[in-house]
């Protein structure tokens, strides 16, 4: 399976009467996008705003971050099973509006999060302080239930991203990258001496604001399965979760998964990147057992030598992580797990809610309980009304001078467990 990614570097976003993409400047027709959002009758109104790196701007509560893309060659379309038909994606050619993002924000529930600061100390903790962000805040019609509101905002974000991506269809990319993996037999013949490595991605799948969708299917209703790694680059996996925003994967992270990217970088050199295995993180313990059994079974069936396992979330998923790790290791397949830590504000508590001796190679995204002071920003997109209510915040969060005292938990992507973060201990 081969996918060519054509990156079109976006240098600026401006509102304009006519939508177009020219010389790296994205001109956004607000009225046209508004029409696209309001196709859904459950959305009463939408406001668009632009936030640029370095500005004194705080965006909250963030629901999802999405990178606009368009399929220019090959089967299917972006966000299959959701916006495009359900054809298998991941081959052909895709253009990407690189350097920008669509950020959806809005109050779904009272304690929703997260926070993106475009400058100041908080900006270092979120990768989305470096993107040009088109922020859309959707208001629901009166009486709309939270489930329906969440779905409406989620889908509206994808529709807007697809409409923007379409503007890049006929633009020559500034950079082209080719990603290719091969079938099982072909891979063994081509790379007989390289270790066979796969990526096991665990997907958040617990309930409202805790869900992920694969080709439009709620991940909690899926069995562990296999993807070509390029499928995710065309939006095969999308986010429906944002509670404790530090370690949740916005759709942008699925489209740009750094584990996939790094495994491709080593493919054919130090390892043979066999495939991506996706598995869920359900609440029901028998589901956990079944999913981790299936993941381990596939690792054996595929004759893997090693896997990288990434988690999404804390607590309940710690159990899935350790089950996956133990069972895969028991099949004779080496594991490296990527997690983050809830080690208390002082960092002295037990980091995970589960552990095992088999988990002897662990990468951490950081301590989500660590406290940070976010100074007042000149402008807030969204609302601070709920900032006291986000996980990791408290009544004392909003200080009289407008600054926020919060745990890293609240910052979108701060301790991301795919490694999609900017800070490291190196």
């Amino acid at each position: 399976m081969k996918l060519e990614i054509g990156n079109i570097f976006i240098k600026d976003i401006q509102f304009a009467a006519e939508a177009k993409l020219a010389d790296g400047v994205l001109y956004v027709d607000k009225a046209a996008l508004e029409k696209i959002v309001l196709e859904d009758e459950t959305i009463k109104s939408v406001t668009f705003d632009i936030a640029k790196p370095g500005e004194s701007v705080r965006i909250t509560p963030v629901k999802d971050v999405i990178e606009p893309r368009v399929k220019v060659e090959g089967p299917g379309g972006i966000f299959p099973g959701i916006i495009a038909k359900v054809d298998t994606v991941g081959s052909g050619k895709t253009h990407v509006l690189k350097g920008m993002a669509v950020v959806t924000a809005g109050k779904i529930v009272g304690f929703q999060e997260g926070v993106i600061d475009m400058s100041g100390p908080g900006a270092k903790y979120t990768p989305f302080s470096e993107t040009l962000n088109l922020v859309m805040v959707c208001e629901p019609v009166e009486g709309l239930k939270q489930h329906d509101y969440e779905k409406a905002v989620r889908l509206a974000g994808f529709r807007v991203a697809v409409a923007l991506g379409e503007l890049g269809r006929n633009v020559a990319p500034d950079e082209t990258k080719v990603y290719e993996t091969c079938g099982i037999k072909e891979g063994i013949e081509k790379y007989p001496d390289l270790p066979r490595v796969a990526y096991v991605q665990m997907l958040q799948s617990q309930g409202l604001l805790h869900d992920t969708y694969v080709y439009g299917v709620d991940a909690k209703k899926t069995l562990s399965t296999i993807l070509w790694p390029t499928e995710t680059m065309d939006g095969a996996i999308v986010s429906g979760n944002c509670v404790s925003a530090c370690d949740k994967n916005p759709t942008y992270v699925h489209e740009n998964n750094p584990v996939v990217e790094d495994l491709f970088a080593q493919h054919g050199k130090t390892l043979n990147f066999v495939c991506q295995i996706i598995t869920n993180e359900n609440v029901y313990l028998a589901d956990k057992q079944r999913s981790s059994d299936w993941t381990a079974k596939m690792c054996r069936l595929l004759d893997l030598d090693g896997v990288i396992v990434s988690q999404e979330g804390f607590g309940n998923p710690d159990t899935d992580l350790i089950m996956n790790c133990k069972k895969i290791e028991a099949q004779g397949v080496k594991t490296v797990i990527i997690t983050d830590e809830y080690a208390g504000r002082d960092g002295k508590s037990q980091s995970l809610a589960d552990a095992d001796a088999a988990a002897d190679a662990v990468v951490t995204g950081g301590n989500a309980n660590e406290v940070i002071v976010l100074p007042k920003m000149d402008k807030v997109i969204g609302t601070l009304d709920y900032v006291n209510k986000i996980a990791g915040a408290s009544e004392e969060t909003l200080q009289p001078d407008g600054s926020l005292v919060v745990e890293l938990q609240v910052i979108t992507g701060a301790t991301n467990e795919t490694g999609f973060i900017k800070l490291s201990a190196r």
């Binding site: 309930g207 313990l285 607590g315």
Partner: protein, 125 residues
């Protein structure tokens, strides 16, 4: 029909499932609910759902619902380990949900219910 018991401190669970459902409602804190589940595990019940379900952490939501078997007999070590780890985790988080406004309290109930709802869908398959 669920073969087990739902232990909950969430009034919405009682409201949604009705009087005939196998629900034990306790008016207690999140941690006390976990401790009540631990008592049952010591008597031989097994956990059917994860005690730390959801990303709204202990201290950030007052509500928790857990499904256990009705079994009596030997203690299930895995269940005991999960519940002990969950109780231990409570200490890491600041207590703040007692200061939420009423609307937020209702949202906390709803989230706990949706987490349980997903588990019930699996349990009733």
């Amino acid at each position: 029909m669920l073969r087990g018991t739902i232990l909950t401190n969430n009034p919405l669970v009682v409201e949604k499932l009705g009087p005939d459902a196998p629900v034990v409602y306790l008016q207690c804190s999140y941690q006390a609910l976990l401790e009540a589940a631990r008592d049952r595990i010591h008597q031989g019940a097994r956990l059917l759902t994860h005690p730390l379900s959801g990303s709204v952490k202990p201290g950030e939501t007052p509500y928790k619902s857990i499904i256990l078997t009705n079994g009596k007999g030997d203690v299930d070590r895995q269940s005991l380990q999960l519940i002990e780890n969950a109780i231990q985790a409570c200490a890491k988080f600041q207590q703040r949900c007692d200061r939420y406004r009423p609307a937020v309290d209702l949202d906390c109930r709803l989230i706990d219910w949706t987490l349980l709802e997903g588990a019930l869908a699996s349990a009733n398959q």
